[in-house]
Symmetry: C2
Subunit: 298 residues, 2 copies
């Protein structure tokens, strides 16, 4: 399998208050991404609230996406606290049609490097699903070293890493350090939307993008510009999104994209409790920022 580099668009997973996925609304969220021909769908990522959905509901979401996605591959979140649960979720994802699994070292008890190594190896071995290492210390509180990512890159079927994009000043050295640590052909990509463009310019092959789940055309244009080495154009587009990046930093991307999905696409889903929708004052800021964007961007 050729890993789907480029723009991986991470949509929300609209769900009802009881935790059942609203499949109609999910199709509504996915349609414009597929029409825009994003390079992959990052289904059930952190923005897709995978940790708040049951095994059954995650499976329904992947099946629904796979049914409509045609040639666009699906990378599906399969993280869980228990190793055996993560194995089952990876097996489910594979059966349901996902091309790869996105595996984060979700923890309650803080984990050691050896525990994370065993966890990932077991899931790769027992599921047969190609895996992307989901490095997201903001949610898992686990800190990957490049050494551990290097060790994991040599496990069969562990094929990619999604790293949090560091500040622009540090991104070149971060990318070079990772590249030196991993096996040849291993896919390196970044998330953390506002800094990701610098990761692409530094040579990363994939942008795992929350905003790509809402503004696929603009995010695709940024990726394509970086791919043809037009750093100026990639940066120019990124700068036009600055009002959105400010909102992400102030209110968190998850809470902001739920609001944008409602304002732009009439998706009335709320994040799972205990996560609350944005307060009216924050919502007004989102509305104002959206209204101020050039209409071609939205």
């Amino acid at each position: 399998m050729k890993y789907p580099d480029g723009l991986s668009a991470f949509p929300i997973t609209p769900a009802n208050v009881d935790g059942s996925v609203d499949l109609g609304a999910l199709r509504q969220v996915l349609s414009p991404l597929l029409d825009a021909r994003v390079d992959s769908i990052g289904l059930l990522g952190s923005t897709g609230t995978y940790m708040y959905l049951s095994r059954e509901e995650r499976c329904r979401a992947i099946e629904t996406a796979a049914d409509m996605s045609g040639p666009v591959p699906i990378i599906a979140g399969i993280g869980a606290l228990r190793t055996d649960d993560a194995v089952r979720l990876a097996q489910d994802a594979r059966s349901a049609g996902a091309s790869a699994g996105l595996l984060a070292p979700v923890s309650y008890t803080p984990l050691t490097d050896d525990e994370v190594f065993e966890h990932f190896s077991t899931v790769a071995r027992e599921s047969g699903l190609p895996l992307c290492i989901y490095d997201n210390p903001g949610t898992t509180h686990f800190k990957f070293t490049s050494g551990l990512i290097g060790r994991l890159s040599r496990i069969e079927r562990i094929v990619a890493v999604k790293s949090p994009a560091p500040e622009p000043a540090g991104i070149k050295s971060h990318h070079a350090e990772l590249r030196a640590a991993v096996r040849d052909g291993f896919s390196l990509g970044y998330s953390g939307d506002w800094n990701s463009v610098e990761g692409l310019i530094a040579g990363a092959s994939t942008w795992y993008s929350v905003l790509g789940g809402l503004f696929p055309h603009t995010c695709l244009s940024m990726v394509r510009a970086a791919q043809r080495n037009d750093a100026d154009e990639a940066r120019r587009l990124n700068a036009t999104l600055e009002p959105v990046w400010s909102l992400f930093k102030e209110f968190s991307s998850l809470r902001v994209v739920y609001t944008i999905a409602e304002l732009n696409h009439a998706i009335h889903a709320k994040p799972p409790r205990p996560i609350l929708p944005l307060a009216p004052s924050a919502r007004a800021k989102v509305e104002a920022a959206l209204a101020g964007l050039p209409s071609g961007l939205r």
Copy 2:
């Protein structure tokens, strides 16, 4: 209900590799604690791996403990990522015979103060179970302010807080700040075994103790000494446990107590994967430390 102050002993929850609780081994773990007449059992705490057990298994564990605990109250861990799941777990715990619930703001997406406030209020209101706030930033990564604990202390049925014990130099001011923030009669207690004795000496009413789940007599003696204002004796006993505290700091209390349970009580349970048992070299250190303790302590 009078909240059970004093020594709350937090045992492991022996389980099989498939995540089913080994009820025979659980009885074996609980028996000496009940014989020692600890002031409460802290069942399904972090050491009791509650986050790694299903709703059904947690329920079986509480029923088994309640069946044998007689006059000793059970405080049961009821934390979950979703608010509705935490409500159901609290309702289960109440039906199964727990006297109180231990509720941590378990998170994947980092939570705001208002989200934690709503989460706790909802569980208290919809379950009818008295609650202890489980402040454990090492696992939840949520930082409680005394202001938020103060607000929560005024919610009906939120009756206690279990705080991580700060370093001895800071414990008096921490305790005074919390006492000033909460309503009268609200129970303040500490966990983080090695510093807890200073919390008791500073006036806290409860020690939520991992080691109390293995060495109930020694830990009870420390609590009783503090209760009769014999700080010297409480500190003297705490100092004899220094070799154990060192192991807790080096290898984490959870991994160490699994090893001690095996060495002292022939409980062969392993922690849930991805958590691994201690490596042989670490295990040897635990064995040596145990052998070096005065025999009356163990």
